[in-house]
């Protein structure tokens, strides 16, 4: 059987390629200004122009001013791992290579962490993965619903605050989403061409995504659901078996590599800890936070498109919905809820919203209001995304988008400790967030008061301070760091740290101020306790 990528099977919208083709009827009539306008709107140049705008705007939103704020706690961990991987002496003692997640991204960025204390190379790498995801979303939308939908989808993901904020940080979710989106493209190619090798490629890419962050393994379930609901893709079965072997075999590389490299027991400890963590957010967390981060209007447009175009439904919607519903349901049930976990479903939402916009523009019979309405809807979606996303670049601290802002003052405080405190002096902080930042920038060992003495209730990387009072009295910790961010989350541990400062006559040796909670205030205070 031969297959052509340009001739989709199953019910299909009127694609822009079709509209571009001049017909005899069109050649016989004198085009009106409206016809000329339509021809321009439906033109290939416009669609590719929209894609170019998506790449330029998305690139600016992801790459501009990446060093404005220092690394946050998670970034410190991943960048610290990368630096430890290449043996950077500043990090080796403080950031063990094997921690909670696989190491593909850390390995990729590690060459840029060989010397000094860099904090932006990982962000640039993450941003480039984000820009790559924009291109993949275009390909996905093009394969499923035509070039126009692909271009609009690329524009939507380019300005989506959820994608922008996570692509500007040294986090694993952006690169993971790049690989999962590539897998989704392979599944679309499988369905379009019925070439089973694309299923194997999708499985391999999901394996690679799992080597970036293990949560990507959930999407293997999405593939199973898709194949079950569209059973014609189950055959030939050898491809299904090969795809499963590729995904699970590559995923197994993570524990095998860790064990072979001598970090097996630590890897198991992290696994146990991840699976036994207590819930950190309530059931409504994803329902309230993620639609806002993706864009309420974008989500509403995607849903409206599904409802209004239900008669045109095909394997395309089944594929995208499986990609959205499976991870959403899984993480809704999973007790630990991280803000970035659902980034993998954002490309599918963007494509569904773009489908609705493109369908309105290309609605037959064509009317001026449908074209204007479709373009207007697209413009509204882009505007609703680009405003909060721009704020992430120009004023990240004031941005209301979750996950933005970092910990202003943390980099400066850590650098001050590096310059003014003996390298071996241990530092006590309220929580592990500031402890990681202090470790990252100063290289000093740093422990947090809030770390549980119970090994099953703490990250295995963190050492608890079993008796803080004795530790300060004995001189184990001479520098105590209070920060407004941890204090806001853990007022009781903040009070304990300040009580220790008072009890042992601590004096302020350095402060950092920044905007926090809408006002400029002291966000980091470093106390020195006399011997």
């Amino acid at each position: 059987m031969t297959a052509d990528l340009t001739s989709p099977s199953g019910p299909e919208l009127v694609g822009p390629d079709t509209l571009d083709t001049p017909t005899a009827d069109r050649l016989e009539v004198v085009p009106s200004p409206l016809d000329l306008l339509r021809a321009r709107v439906t033109g290939r140049a416009v669609d590719l122009g929209v894609l170019a705008v998506a790449l330029v705007v998305g690139g600016w939103l992801r790459l501009a001013d990446l060093g404005g704020v220092g690394v946050n706690s998670d970034e410190a961990v991943y960048a610290g791992q990368a630096a430890s991987l290449v043996g950077n002496e500043h990090f080796v003692g403080n950031f063990p290579v094997v921690r909670a997640h696989p190491l593909l991204f850390q390995i990729l960025i590690s060459p840029w962490y060989a010397d000094g204390v860099p904090d932006t190379p990982g962000r640039y790498a993450s941003a480039l993965f984000g820009i790559g995801t924009i291109a993949l979303v275009f390909v996905l939308g093009h394969l499923l619903y035509g070039r126009r939908a692909g271009a609009i989808a690329a524009l939507l993901i380019a300005v989506m605050p959820y994608a922008v904020v996570l692509s500007r940080q040294v986090l694993l979710d952006g690169p993971m989403t790049f690989f999962t989106t590539a897998a989704l493209v392979c599944l679309a190619l499988l369905a379009r061409t019925e070439n089973g090798r694309w299923l194997v490629a999708a499985g391999a890419l999901l394996g690679l995504a799992t080597l970036t962050k293990e949560t990507a393994l959930i999407l293997v379930m999405a593939v199973f659901v898709f194949l079950s609901l569209v059973p014609r893709f189950w055959r030939p079965k050898r491809y299904v078996a090969l795809a499963a072997a590729a995904a699970l075999g590559l995923a197994a590389t993570y524990p095998i590599a860790t064990a072979l490299a001598g970090g097996g027991s630590r890897g198991q400890s992290y696994l146990v800890w991840q699976l036994s963590r207590r819930p950190n957010h309530d059931f409504l967390f994803y329902l309230t936070e993620i639609p806002v981060a993706i864009g309420v209007l974008t989500v509403a447009t995607a849903v409206a498109g599904l409802v209004l175009l239900r008669r045109r439904s095909s394997w395309r919607e089944t594929l995208l919905l499986a990609w959205i519903v499976v991870p959403f349901v899984f993480f809704e049930i999973w007790p630990v809820k991280g803000f970035p976990y659902l980034l993998v479903l954002a490309p599918a939402v963007a494509v569904l919203a773009a489908r609705a916009c493109a369908a309105l523009i290309d609605l037959t019979p064509r009317r001026a209001w449908t074209v204007v309405g479709g373009v207007g809807l697209t413009a509204a979606l882009v505007l609703a995304g680009v405003v909060p996303s721009s704020q992430l670049v120009t004023d990240p601290v004031a941005s209301p988008t979750a996950g933005s802002g970092g910990s202003p003052g943390g980099r400066e405080a850590g650098s001050w400790i590096d310059a003014n405190v003996p390298a071996s002096a241990k530092v006590m902080t309220i929580g592990p967030t500031m402890a990681n930042i202090v470790r990252y920038y100063s290289g000093n060992p740093s422990d947090a008061l809030s770390v549980s003495p119970n090994p099953l209730h703490r990250n295995p990387s963190y050492q608890p301070i079993v008796n803080p009072d004795h530790a300060v009295r004995a001189g184990t910790y001479r520098y105590l760091v209070w920060d407004a961010y941890s204090a806001a989350r853990s007022p009781s541990f903040s009070s304990r740290l300040l009580a220790l400062v008072r009890k042992y006559g601590g004096r302020v040796v350095h402060t950092e101020s920044a905007v926090f909670d809408g006002a400029t205030r002291e966000v980091v205070v470093i106390y020195e306790v006399p011997r």
């Binding site: 392979c186 394996g207 379930m221 590389t253 027991s265």
Partner: protein, 78 residues
């Protein structure tokens, strides 16, 4: 096999795969893990590099077969 059975069998198999390492993990090791020795970095990097190359080969294999099909299709049309 019906659709619902396929979903059930698939999800069960996946749960076993995910749960397997957890069942093998020893919670007691968590206590002393932070003192575990650093892994051999070169081994880690080499294994990950092989994994990436493997995926690149699989994607190239799929793409190559697609181009072959398209070329064959164009041949037949002529």
């Amino acid at each position: 096999m019906s659709r619902s059975r396929r979903v059930l069998v698939g999800l069960t198999a996946l749960l076993v795969v995910v749960a397997g390492p957890v069942l093998l993990a020893d919670p007691a090791q968590a206590a002393g893990s932070s003192t575990a020795r650093e892994p051999q970095r070169a081994v880690l990097v080499a294994i990950y590099a092989v994994a990436v190359l493997l995926v690149a080969a699989v994607v190239a294999w799929a793409a190559h077969s697609q181009w072959g099909r398209r070329a064959q299709g164009q041949e037949e049309e002529r």
